[in-house]
């Protein structure tokens, strides 16, 4: 679909049952499109079960310029399983296409076939998915490849891009898998190419690549892994948990090639304990988990704060509380990330808003952990961890290799003091193996020497040290702690946001501006310590402030109103699905109207 200025913006939704190859089809589609130079943003929804009954949806938005979120309305819906696809027919826009199995294997009762639900404004394309697959490969299993061939034919997309991705995807399997799938693809491509087209049926050209840039497609978790490797991660300890597992898996495959070590531990407590142990020994160390794992790690993170030991914890949030909804997205672990654990345990909490941000935040997290001698939590969520975006990796490694204020910075008489009070509140840190720096780190409150001490003035001074040293993170070099987008100066409605939801916020902001509303949006990347000054300045400019987030009460809203004591309007959704651009836009319109009235 080409819009008026000639650029492409088309969103595909492939819907099937677990085991149909829905996610695999989406994967090939987005890789082929990215290979052709289009910008892609994609997100899959799948059940917590591996096989059997469960709805799988793969949504892929293909654009000329990078989009910030998926669209509520898809342009093309492909059904691999009508029973799951029927409820989603409504999400196809007017003049959008619905591609379905034209010859179902059994005679379906009225209403069970998708044709009964396609609206007159939508374009139905019946396709003999099963028959084409069986003719090409003597099995129905390649239906997911058949629909790809059909899409390529229908929209005039270069079939070679698909063939390349298919060959790469099945590279490790027997050659017959590639050839039979390619046969199925080619057969369906011919069908798609020659079918009578109900719409205009072609895509605009992709934007030409800027010289020297090679765009690549990554998930949020994939970008975290790249960031870790570029930052020189030495050791990684992890325990499998959705949606953070892929960080463990990819690092297990890649980190050893770069001289690092990965260990799957017996539980999350062990993972964070080993991370803290490795951090104490001078390694750049990290672990990754989700909300339930972070809950288990809270006590050990406290030791990291008390002992001033660097460590990085990646937390990909999912629906909660408890086991909650493991394969659904949510932003409800902010409270735990910022406040979790015993005592006054302030630490740094960062939340990137897109895939590119995941890369930069991951690397910077190691810098900050080392420089300010503290645990750093990087908050992701399932929607960000698993969604694909086209990104351009930086030409030069942007991360500082070593920021430890080491034993050489020790200036004092007598015994080395691990927790010496200094101007910037960060003490010289000796590492095991260094002569003259022997000391014991403890979770007990301690004196500057590191010896246990419960004197009142000492606890006050040490508490101040642990809090004040983190303020420097607000001005950490080359890191965006928060950023304003959209209209400058006084505005009608300002939107604050964090994490994955910020993509939808940006799209809503652009839509509101197009309607003549003076609108601006600010992303808050550093959630602890909070950039209060910048947020306050932004709120000063706004007649109304909206804060959309994926949790029930508004955890960032609580944090900001608690810190600044100013009114803001909350928009909370706890559905397990990403926020809709239209929901935010409706709220922006309402606030703008209320102001006008």
């Amino acid at each position: 679909m080409v819009d008026r200025n000639g650029s492409t913006d088309i969103q595909f939704a492939i819907i099937g049952s677990a085991g149909d190859g829905t996610i695999a089809a989406g994967d090939i589609l987005k890789r082929a499109m990215a290979g052709l130079g289009y910008k892609v943003i994609a997100f899959d929804i799948y059940p917590a079960e591996i096989r059997g009954f469960g709805k799988c949806i793969s949504r892929v938005r293909v654009t000329t310029e990078q989009a910030y979120s998926l669209k509520r309305h898809s342009d093309v819906l492909v059904s691999l399983d009508d029973s799951y696809a029927i409820p989603h027919v409504g999400e196809v826009c007017d003049y959008g296409a619905v591609i379905y199995e034209a010859s179902p294997i059994a005679r379906l009762p009225e209403g069970a076939h998708i044709t009964a639900h396609i609206r007159p404004t939508q374009l139905p394309y019946g396709l003999n998915q099963r028959e084409i697959s069986e003719r090409a490969t003597s099995a129905a299993r390649s239906r997911n490849i058949v629909i790809l061939g059909y899409l390529a034919g229908l929209y005039g997309i270069d079939p070679q891009a698909f063939r390349d991705v298919i060959a790469a995807k099945f590279e490790r399997k027997a050659a017959i898998v590639t050839t039979s799938n390619t046969t199925a693809f080619d057969a369906a491509y011919e069908v798609g190419r020659t079918v009578f087209k109900l719409d205009q049926g072609s895509l605009g050209e992709p934007a030409p690549a800027k010289s020297g840039e090679t765009a690549t497609m990554m998930t949020g978790n994939g970008a975290i892994v790249r960031g870790c490797i570029d930052a020189g991660l030495d050791t990684f300890f992890g325990y499998p948990i959705t949606p953070a597992t892929t960080i463990l898996e990819r690092l297990a495959a890649e980190l050893p090639r770069h001289g690092g070590r990965v260990l799957q531990t017996e539980d999350e407590i062990s993972a964070i304990s080993a991370t803290i142990g490795a951090g104490y020994a001078g390694a750049r160390a990290a672990t990754a988990t989700s909300g339930p794992g972070l809950a288990l790690m809270a006590e050990m993170l406290g030791l990291g704060v008390m002992g001033e030991i660097p460590s990085v914890v990646f937390v990909s949030q999912r629906g909660g509380p408890s086991t909650g909804m493991p394969t659904k997205t949510e932003q409800s672990d902010l409270n735990m990330a910022v406040f979790g654990g015993a005592g006054d345990a302030q630490r740094i909490v960062l939340a990137p808003t897109n895939v590119d941000g995941c890369y930069r935040t991951a690397g910077k997290a190691f810098e900050m952990a080392e420089k300010y001698q503290t645990p750093v939590i990087v908050l992701l969520d399932l929607y960000l961890s698993n969604r694909y975006e086209t990104v351009v990796p930086p030409a030069k490694n942007p991360f500082a290799p070593d920021l430890n204020k080491g034993l050489e910075a020790w200036r004092g008489d007598g015994d080395y003091q691990r927790y010496q009070q200094t101007e910037d509140h960060v003490s010289p840190r000796a590492l095991p193996g260094e002569d003259g720096g022997m000391h014991t780190v403890t979770g007990l409150e301690h004196s500057e020497l590191g010896k246990p001490s419960d004197l009142p003035e000492n606890h006050m001074a040490m508490s101040a040290k642990r809090h004040e040293k983190l303020k420097a993170a607000l001005t950490h070099p080359d890191f965006t702690i928060c950023k304003r987008f959209g209209d400058e100066g006084p505005i009608d409605v300002g939107i604050l946001g964090w994490g994955s939801t910020f993509g939808e916020i940006l799209e809503a902001m652009f839509a509101a501006q197009a309607e003549g509303i003076r609108c601006s949006a600010m992303k808050v990347v550093m959630l602890s310590p909070l950039p209060e000054e910048q947020i306050a300045a932004f709120m000063d400019d706004c007649d109304a402030v909206l804060l959309p987030e994926l949790n029930y009460e508004g955890q960032l809203a609580n944090l900001i109103s608690g810190a600044l004591g100013r009114p803001l309007t909350r928009l909370n959704r706890a559905t397990g699905a990403p926020m809709q651009v239209e929901e935010i836009l409706a709220e922006v319109r309402r606030l703008a109207r209320a102001k006008a009235a």
């Binding site: 030495d234 050893p256 770069h258 193996g433």
Partner: protein, 304 residues
């Protein structure tokens, strides 16, 4: 008892003790243990062992959990890490993974090890991480004032079990033998020289070594694991015990009425560090492409 008794003069003894250099491993902090506590023997044993093995102070890291035993790192002049209740082994594993050149000694009490920390022991053992784990077993919670512990006798009367404890005690040696620890031994705080020898042997072992140390609590246990009782009950492992025979070791470990001291089991097998070296080879290690870490290279020693 063939040697004739010779008078020992305090001054000569002090000269000898100061002269051999093991006191340099002790910090200037005075231990906070009760007079008569078995842990003094352990502290002595560790310093003697480190001195005998000539481990540089800067390369030794003592990791502990929470409890009386876990106060140990403060009394050493090496690097130390006093962590959380029960988390000694995973933290020690992290230290060792980060820097293979370090001599890592994990210590803790019976509660720290077998109550709250019980889940970590099998995994440290099966990974064969090259550290030494010493459990100071006094069969009671000392730092919280005398509650029952996982190794307390059945029927133990304590403030938390005023009508007697009804839990069977665990058998730590049996557990460690079945977990796959590559070195398992037992010593007694009342036999100082044997204890020091065993600690030295445990530290020298390449792989996960577990030393169980029977160590009376003179304050909160006046009836069960006392010096008087243990002096009578402990015995040596039979001279013909073969330390490569795991089942024979288990048989001896099962005889808890008269705890046998000595080396129960020992085997040589690849350590966790060897595993990492193998992984690096299989993955096709390239030169480090991440941020070139000048400090990191210095810090991270190559695996053995």
């Amino acid at each position: 008892m063939t040697e004739p008794l010779k008078p020992v003069y305090l001054e000569d003894k002090l000269k000898q003790v100061r002269g051999d250099g093991h006191l340099r491993y002790r910090s200037r902090s005075l231990p906070t243990w009760c007079p008569g506590c078995g842990y003094f023997s352990v502290a002595e044993g560790v310093t003697v062992a480190l001195n005998r093995l000539q481990v540089p102070l800067k390369d030794a890291v003592v990791v502990s959990g929470i409890g009386c035993a876990s106060r140990f790192p403060f009394f050493m002049d090496t690097y130390g890490l006093h962590t959380l209740h029960g988390r000694t082994l995973p933290v020690a594993t992290g230290v060792k993974v980060a820097n293979e050149a370090l001599t890592v000694i994990a210590v803790g009490g019976d509660g720290d090890a077998f109550a709250i920390g019980g889940g970590h022991i099998p995994h440290a053992a099966r990974r064969n991480v090259d550290i030494t784990y010493m459990v100071f077993d006094n069969g009671v919670y000392g730092l919280t004032k005398g509650q029952t512990s996982p190794t307390s006798v059945y029927g133990f009367v304590t403030p938390s079990t005023p009508y007697e404890s009804h839990d069977q005690p665990l058998n730590p040696l049996m557990m460690l033998l079945s977990y796959g620890a590559s070195w398992v031994g037992q010593a007694y705080a009342g036999h100082q020289h044997h204890l020091s020898d065993m600690i030295a042997e445990a530290i020298a072992h390449r792989g996960f070594s577990y030393l169980h140390i029977l160590s009376p609590c003179v304050t909160f246990d006046k009836t069960e694991m006392t010096y008087a009782n243990l002096d009578i009950r402990v015995r040596d492992l039979p001279a013909d015990h073969d330390p490569s025979d795991r089942l024979a070791a288990m048989k001896h470990a099962a005889a808890t009425g008269h705890p046998a001291l000595g080396l129960y089991f020992r085997e040589e097998r690849p350590t966790l560090g060897d595993g990492f070296a193998d992984v690096a080879t299989r993955a096709g290690r390239k030169t480090k492409t991440g941020a070139a870490r000048a400090g990191g290279k210095k810090k991270t020693a190559k695996s053995k």
